[in-house]
Structure formats: C-alpha cells, structure tokens
Symmetry: C2
Subunit: 225 residues, 2 copies
Amino acid sequence: MTRTRFQHELDRLKQNLLAMAGMSEQAVQRAMEAYGSRDSKVCRLVLTGEASINLAEREIDDLALELLAMQQPMAVDLRFILAGIKINADLERVGDQAVNIAERVMRLITLPPADLPLDLPRTGFLASLMVRQAIEAFVRGDAALARAVLQMDDQVDAMNDEAYVTMSRVMRDTPQYAEQALNLLLISRNLERVADHATNIAEDVIFWVQGANVRHGVQVSTGGS
Amino acid sequence: MTRTRFQHELDRLKQNLLAMAGMSEQAVQRAMEAYGSRDSKVCRLVLTGEASINLAEREIDDLALELLAMQQPMAVDLRFILAGIKINADLERVGDQAVNIAERVMRLITLPPADLPLDLPRTGFLASLMVRQAIEAFVRGDAALARAVLQMDDQVDAMNDEAYVTMSRVMRDTPQYAEQALNLLLISRNLERVADHATNIAEDVIFWVQGANVRHGVQVSTGGS
C-alpha cells in the first residue's frame, strides 16, 4: 500500500465512523421521539435499526485491522487508528442504549399515561448533543471541543441524580405510578450512559490529538482555566 | 525489537490483562459482599480501588500501543493485540459497574432493611463467574469456554428481567419499601452490565482464536448443535 493509498484509507475510516455516529445518534433521537409520542412504530424502527449499527461496527473494525496489517503506521496514525477502534465500540454501545430506551418506551405505552415531574427530553437533547460534538471533535481533531463534551457530562450526571430523587419520591407517594416512574428513571440512566460513551469518545479524541491521556482525571493544559 | 522480545512483550500484555481482570472481578465481589453485610467500609474499598483499575487500564493501552509501533505484527498477533485493547476497556467498565453497585449499597445502608424477594448474590455470583471464565478463555485461547460464557449471559438476562417484574410489584404493593426495591433493581441491572462486558470479552476471544467474528449473532461452527 502506498502512503497516499494509506492516507486515503485512513480518511475512509474517519468517514465510516462519522456515518456510524450518525446512525447511533439518530437511534437515540428516535427513541426519545418515541418516548414523546408514545409511538411503538418508532420504537420498532430503533429495534430493527440495531442490525445496521452492528454491521457498521464490524466493517470499521475490519478496516482498522487492515490498516494496521498493511503498513507499519507512524505513531500519530497508530494513535488515530486506536482511537477509531475505541470510538467504534462506544458508538455501538450508544446504539445499544437507544434500544434499551425503546424497550422502556414500549413498556411505558402499555401503562396508563402519568404526568411525572421529569424533563427527559432535555436530558436526551444534551446526551445526543454530546455524542455529536464528540464526533465533530474527532473529525476536526479539535481537543478544545472534546473538552467541552467532558464538561457537559457533569450536567447530565446531575440531571440523572435528580431523576433518582424525584422518581423515588413519586414511587413512595403515588404507588399507582410506581412503574411509570421506574421506567422514566431507567431511561434517565440509559441517557446518562449515552453521555458516558460520548465522554469516552471525547477522551479518545484528546488522547489522539494531544498524545496526552486525559482519562481518569489526568490534567491536560488548556491554556485557560 | 527481536521476535523473542516481541513474544515476551505479548506475554506481558496477557499477564497484565489477567491481573486487571482479577482486580475488576474482585471489585464486583467486594461490592456484593458489602451488599450482603451492609458494610460501608467495604463499599469504600471498592470506591478507592477504582484508581488502581484505571491506572492498570492505561498501562495496558500503552503496552499495546508500544507493541503495535515497535514491530509490524503478524496477522494472528495483531488480532490478539486488538482483542487485548477491547478486553481492557471492558474490564475497566466492569470496575465502573462495581463502583455503581457500591454506591447503591451505600444508599441502601441508610434505609431501613427490607427482606425483598430477590436473590442478587446469585446474579452476582454468575456475573463474576462469567468475567472469570471469559478471561480464562482468553489466557488459554479456548473458544469453547468463551462460547459457554455467551450462554450464561442468557441466564443473567432472564434473572434481570425477573428482577424488574418482582421489584416493580414490591414498589406498587409496599410503597414504604419502594426505594429499597429500586436500589435492588439498579444493582441487578449493574450486574447484568457486568455480564454484558464478560460477553463482549468472550466474543473478542472467539474473534481472536477463530478469526471469526461472532459478534451480533454471526454463527461459528462448534462441531455440535
């Protein structure tokens, strides 16, 4: 493989990851749309869409393996490919979370509607945005944008902690809505995991771009606060 | 790097992953021990132990990167290293789940004890066993053992589904125990995720050993049914 061909294939890896991210993010958005509209047809779209995401994951892994096998990559390319392999796994799991949410919505639809004090669409919006920005950071090689994703994760965590407090109170005080409250809380936790995967992706981007591992609280200078 | 040195380093990668697996599995067992004894000291052991697991993860990633950079690996070694990178990420997340369980137990300890009809230690035992067997399958290169792990996952999923039914009934019928039931259900889901990670590891072992990707339902002949 020539160097030009290698660069071309690296670019293909990036494009495939971008497409994969689009599918995963869309799955989360659809699951939340189904939550809003109580629409089991949209839930089933998410469930059947999982196969395409899984297939895309496998193709990306094969491409990465091929890239590693065909040419001894330079250090910077190696880090890029490794980041791609990890991001791929995280995107697939974002898709899994969308499936979990769709399953919870399927259950909710069978229960009487209950107007409970929890703004899940807001959490869903933030979690989706984190995935999109993490992938944008990857495509652009933008570590500053990746760091912004890390900060958003704290917000989603706080929203999820609040969901625990609010929904366990509903369960205790209005047991007739206990199962509805439980499903809302489980969706909140699924969204929190989507945000965790976005955070992992952002950390992998920073690892690749800066050659610094910011996972687990190791500081990277931002030039600012 | 000579070929012998390279093999030696590959072996070191395997040994490090084995040690990492031991730490992650121990974290889950400790969290479940804390659940049984309602002991916040044991919970804190799990919480403080997370840093060591994160450090071990980073060292393994660095070692894998070094192996890929120093010598153009043969296809079989490349698959092994890639499996190692993915297994590493899954083991770290097993540790995360142990932390989540310990946090749930910390909350449970603050609530009045409730004797609820859910055998979480049994689920915990199975999930831990799956992690241990998946790693044994990796160390021995044993695809048959890895496939046994995949089957155990169905059992854990069934136990987790049952936990949903039982605990949502408790919430509805005895709302004074709603929060205890909720925390038990959340622990059940954490254990189900531990089992999922063990499943991912088993799939990576099969990918490496057989050169076949059994992820997402692609069949691998077992010579049996």
